[in-house]
Amino acid sequence: MPIIVNLDVMLAKRKMSSGELAEKVGITQANLSILKTGKAKAVRFSTLAAICKALNCQPGDLLEWREDEEDEHERGTVS
């Protein structure tokens, strides 16, 4: 999945635990873990807004696009 969720970085910056964040956002720790480990297929805007509010950050601080190897091969940038 080319979208990386940098939750660990923001949690460390704000000195907050996953459990605290899950409680503030209103999702289960299991779901937060799915988000952190990159297994999520989609994120609702409402969830993203709640996470940004809890961590006092912007969506761009949490989400990063990284080209994956398949796309690089298609573009011919990786031999």
Binding site: I27, N31, L32, I34, L35, K39, A40, K41, A42, V43, R44, T47
Partner: protein
Amino acid sequence: MQYEKSARVSLWSVRLFLGALAALLVFMPRLIEWYIGFRAMPQIQGWAIIVCFYLCAPVVAVALLVMHRLLLRIVQGQVFIHDNVRLIRIVSNCCALVTGIALVGCVIYAPLVFVVVLMGFLCMMVRVIASVMAAATDLREENDLTI
């Protein structure tokens, strides 16, 4: 839940069918003997019906047992899972097998063509249901991974 009640009723129907199949396995030869006498038909046609029945019986038993397992899972709340799709495809394959057996049998006893048509249609219908379930299972998985 409503679907649970419906699944339980279906579960009992499947069990009744299994019981009926077991009874037919015992009484089929006598039934055919009576039918041959009643219709005054050639012995070979009676044999064709008996052979078709005993070839189809294990296939039907497998289909009924698979349906039983599927319904038990539905009652437990496990509806949209990949294994259920596999079970539905097994039922469809059983219908296809019965269609094939009846097709061979109708060469000797023509009225078996009704079984061929009915089971062929049922096979197609169950395949469509399997495809719908597969799509629903994928959607549910995607939804489960939407935070």
